[in-house]
Symmetry: D2
Subunit: 429 residues, 4 copies
């Protein structure tokens, strides 16, 4: 492409449903690590990471090399769930590098290559295993946009979009939903134990350990532990949707490791391919792998390009160096945000999150969106979350350098300053 | 990979849900055009085309070159629905090459990159546009495996897998469902016009013009035309699911062109990327593009690798040479199958389909599966379809050479012979 | 009451939902046999029979005497499902007089005392017995107004009133729904036998042998017989809703006797108490009586006043005199209506029904309602039926005298004449 | 009936669903005021009152006289919703005696004559008025057994009986459900106000002020007041199901009077006819009476016998004498039960309820049922309630004499003694 794209092309040809191109109104053309460039050559620091699908940054050189080699050699591209060399390699490496060292034992299912498809497969299987129909999900949970996954998603705007009633689910209060004092699980258990509660024993409880779309709400480890205990007591399957919080985002490969729990089913997608290529996995405890062949499927479930990069991505987890790096930088993220909130009381801000999945919730309506817009102008890609977009959300690549990180944080600080004290902006401008 | 994969790896590590690796028990490693090779170096002719996702064959050289260039230059890989150079290029080319010459006017939506996701988006939108909840689908229709799409899918095994009741849909008889004489649409209209019929006016009617999974059932053009008329009369949206039948499979880019109809919404996926990369499009008449930003979405909706190859694939449609080639070879396919059915009355066979989407339905239970298994042994990849797998299904790449085509057909003939007259097999063996 | 009621009282104090007082705008105060009187002393012939709840006419003298005796002696009035002398008496008499002579063996359940409640109990039980969820009902079927019964009711106005989607039911075409030639059951069976039809094997098929509210549609005996065969073949429970067509209305105690079928569950209400008192019965084949105690119930299920009159009503069935009377007069009804339709081609009329459940369907919109209104002015109570009120419906008491019958028929003739040739009316008036 | 009924008749002829005849295994034949007699001439004190349908006792002499007069004069028995003298009289008297003095303004709807039918009508109307689908109900609420009413009923055994999923309802915790400290309405409001809660703003909130079947749980007045405020704030209709708690049972005609609230819809049945005859009323604020004629109906909605007795019953409410009597005796009930629980710590009992709707909840599984069985043997009719039948429930007629009341209480005391100290029983026996 030698000439510049007319930005109107999207308004003319693409559906009104498009959204990110409205928050980030430019045409991107190139990316590397934590940097992106648009057609004007403007450089951006990426604190968005493709909504969590680019935890290893853009176009990682090893993955890239392996992928190009594979393509050049006419490796199989698309194969549904036939046997291929690349799928076998990935399965073996995933077992050795990820599951075994964590003492986890799961069969791997490849649903259609998106987060919502793995959630749909998990719900189907839990219903099949238990013979029950209902599923308990949590307030502000987000699990996808197809009808099955949307039924366990809390957001009222998204639910309304279904156009039909979303049924067979019960929403329970997530950790800290009502207040800090209230133990929301005491409440949940009363419903399970009382035969007149109107709530049937469910097939499964599905949750994110840290809610992304819902506003960067991190459940306490003891709360997660107690959910697992409730599942065991009532013979309910525990599904952890690790699509966004998994693959290192909270500091460990799986987000639930430090809580010491072992979910019955785990949903993975987004960063599992490493390179931003579509792929999704549903991990299933072997005793629950009672699918009939083809009982759930999807055309693109065998995305060999994604297997190539996903296998390469696993090398990050061969030792604990990567986790240590995340932990260290994560502390910096936290201290920065705590300082920010303290320095700008006008934010009415609260720091939230865990690992590289953090944000600030501002009690002032609309403020977080303004800050994110300011950041974009300064060259930082950052989005908002929560039912009212009340949280600005820091999602750097896990591979980010200290220098890039600081540059991004500086831009956030400036954006907050410019938003909170807009008069100075005018003076400076 | 220098050493051979142990086939057991899939049974050990992959979920029981895997299916194609059971019909085709080998490990594929390389592919080109209409040929595939497994790790033993055995060559196969591909009459399966990745279940319709590889209409242009494997690893088309132009697409390959463009894709590798793009990757080597660190083009953006993953971008959700941000503006990117590649998306803009694809949108423009799709408009110029496909829509304009066919006098079609659609806005383009990118849902999650799978067939079921585009169907889910179409159903949501039709419900939003009309404010109604129900959708009419047809017997033996297949539209996907997530709950919304599964609700309009006919197959009872797949429906049961939902684990919950599938609601807000009414199944009507597809063309020729009851008998050749009965006009199934007269029946459908009685339900719409009688206020006591128990069937509400639906938001949409969704259909495939040729049913793939359902058994290669081709609806007559006049039947399709009449469905469109009924939609207009009752103010119902017409959704054509062209995921499998589209992109040239039946002889024209869209499968509905020759029927002379203009659906309100069109679902595309599978071969739209050309190279087997995950991508899906929902085409929407501009007057119905009333989405709110982000009202339906999916992480991998901006798959730029797929945009690169999809743009390259559009060159096949610059003039009418490609369509002519399909038409010509399609006649050969038909005459071959008609001869086959006539030569082997033991098949109790019926030729079905349109264009490069054809098959033989055998009234003898289990026979088609045996023929497909025989074909695999001989080096031909071919699958079965229909509620009882009663149809063996010929899905060659549209780019196949006459020589490869004849080779494949020859193997089918031998497979039928070996299945129908097994004694000779023993003699020959 | 010595002074006259102000008719406005109903508009002022009663809900807008009231309906019959709009068609019959007067205040009734007394009734006997086939006659009713309003507060002005005007006498009416009753061809309505309380919508089928007064098959024995108003205030039958024997029933009345027994009821008054019972009340005077302080017999138990209300007892839920405790044991009472009157319930025992009724159960024994019903067994001896009705079930035994017809070679039927049913356990008797007393749900809440309305038609919709017996239907709800039947659907619950069929689902429990089979473990399936769906129920097949027919176009223009009417089974009640509570959500379960409404789900199997065809009328779109009534369905819409639910305010929520009505699910777990599939509507199939009733006999003659599409055209006289089409065998609607061939169609139904295709759906059951084809695994891709989208229609699951249901728990039950529910039907009326003659549809009352739906427009006096009488199914042919061979059609009913074939439905029973289909139920047996697929292990589906057959529920006959005999709430309106039962208790002699079509000429025999049960409406299905002449079809030679034995439903698995029978719903009775309306005329079962004989005197117009609320009562409902669900008859259940003993092998399907697998209820847990109290699994379905209702406060007024033990209405002893109704047991007293219901027992008395059974005396009508001790021999075949009553049936013979109905048959004889029914022939008169038919010949009268056939003559009427022939004499008044302007009616564009079609005679429908069976026994004492007959009517004329007029193809002229609004005409039947006008005729019924004319009849009311002349002193005849008669209502309309069908999705567009296109049928005027003759429902005399089974006990009506020949003289009263002729008087009523004469008024219908005059009403037709006055409606079809309104100018003469003016001349005569 | 001169000879005795064989008790086996019910097991032989009546469905397994029968329940009260199992708890009270005898054949009742006569009743008067608070006394019942069986065929052996044994006399019982009635602390059950027909599950709340006999608040004025059995066979009240004035109602009886009016009813017999009406029948003897051939008054209309059954009239659906035609205008009748008796309906007009009742409507006027109800307006004057009940609504006006309480400053309430409601239109009166007559659904089918059972509690579940009035609830179904209320839910339909609330959905129509608001255009919303969901309804919030409370833990341990009981509203009926037809699918619509069952959907808002908490009991898991009864819900499971539906055989299909019960949808469009959300169960919230009733007052004191989780613990005494927790404000369950704070919790409810969080769900309404948070756009990510997964709970949509409902059409209505439905509740009983004192839960009968659910275990005699009385909500505090301030809790009820707060529910009304929440309804006003969010524009939600408030439905009070006063089927069991209404008509004087808690001390005032409507159970909600002392809470100072004005529900939008009130459901009445059970004791509204006064004599135990089937009747139900749905009271609707005039601005919400937007029904179309016949949009909800039921054959027996015009039960004139019930109108006769219901009008007579209203004389109890002409002045405040009746309420004063109830209040006085209610104090006696409470002090008796408090003493009982104190005297028998083995009961692990808790006194519950309000007015003449009281009981003791025993923490010892099965104990309450044993006490009720002992009471029956001694000649007292008393039932149990709660999800595990953990409450024995005192429901005397509101018209009971002090002498009868004391006799009943004495039998309860003896029954508790005999159950808690069974050895003495043996000694005495």
């Amino acid at each position: 492409m030698t000439h510049k794209t007319d930005m109107n092309i999207f308004a003319q040809l693409e559906s009104e449903v498009r959204s990110y191109c409205r928050s980030f109104p430019t045409v991107f053309t190139k990316a590397k690590g934590s940097k992106m460039w648009d057609e004007d050559g403007k450089e951006y620091i990426d604190f968005f990471s493709g909504a969590g699908a680019l935890n290893y940054g853009h176009n990682d050189p090893i993955m890239k090399e392996n992928l190009v080699d594979y393509i050049m050699n006419d490796g199989i591209t698309h194969s549904l769930d036939m046997g291929t060399t690349e799928k076998a390699t990935f399965l073996k490496e995933f077992k050795e590098t990820i599951l075994k060292p964590r003492d986890l034992n799961y069969k791997v299912m490849f649903p259609g290559p998106t987060g919502t498809n793995t959630v749909e497969s998990a719900l189907k299987l839990a219903r099949k295993v238990t013979g029950r129909t209902d599923v308990i999900s949590f307030t502000n949970g987000f699990h996808g946009m197809t009808i099955g996954a949307l039924s366990v998603t809390g957001n009222s705007f998204k639910r309304k979009g279904a156009g039909i009633p979303l049924t067979h689910t019960v929403t329970m209060p997530y950790d800290n939903f009502v207040s800090d004092e209230l133990d929301t699980l005491e409440y949940l258990e009363r419903f399970l134990e009382d035969g007149g509660s109107g709530v049937a024993i469910p097939a499964a409880i599905i949750l994110e350990t840290v809610q992304g779309e819902g506003g960067i709400n991190a459940a306490r480890y003891e709360w997660l532990k107690k959910v697992e205990e409730i599942c065991r007591r009532w013979d309910i399957l525990l599904i952890v949707d690790d699509v966004q919080a998994g693959i290192g985002r909270t500091g460990s490969f799986f987000s639930f490791e430090k809580a010491g729990i072992k979910p019955d089913i785990v949903c993975l997608s987004k960063s599992i391919s490493g390179y931003g290529l579509p792929l999704a996995l549903t991990l299933i405890k072997p005793e629950y792998d009672i699918w009939e062949p083809g009982e759930h499927n999807g055309t693109f479930r065998g995305n060999n390009h994604a297997f190539v990069t996903a296998t390469a991505a696993l090398t990050y987890w061969k030792d604990d160096q990567f986790e240590k790096k995340i932990t260290k930088q994560s502390e910096r993220l936290y201290s920065f945000l705590e300082d920010l909130v303290a320095s700008y009381p006008e934010l009415e801000g609260q720091v939230r999150g865990r690992g590289f999945m953090v944000g600030v919730c501002s009690a002032k309506e609309g403020l977080s969106e303004k800050i994110a817009a300011q950041a974009f102008e300064r060259g930082l890609i950052m989005e908002t979350a929560g039912p009212k977009d009340e949280v600005f959300k820091l999602f750097p690549a896990l591979t980010i350098s200290d220098e890039e990180l600081e540059k991004g944080l500086q831009m956030i600080k400036e954006s907050v300053e410019a938003t909170v004290n807009p008069k100075e902006l005018v003076t400076n401008g």
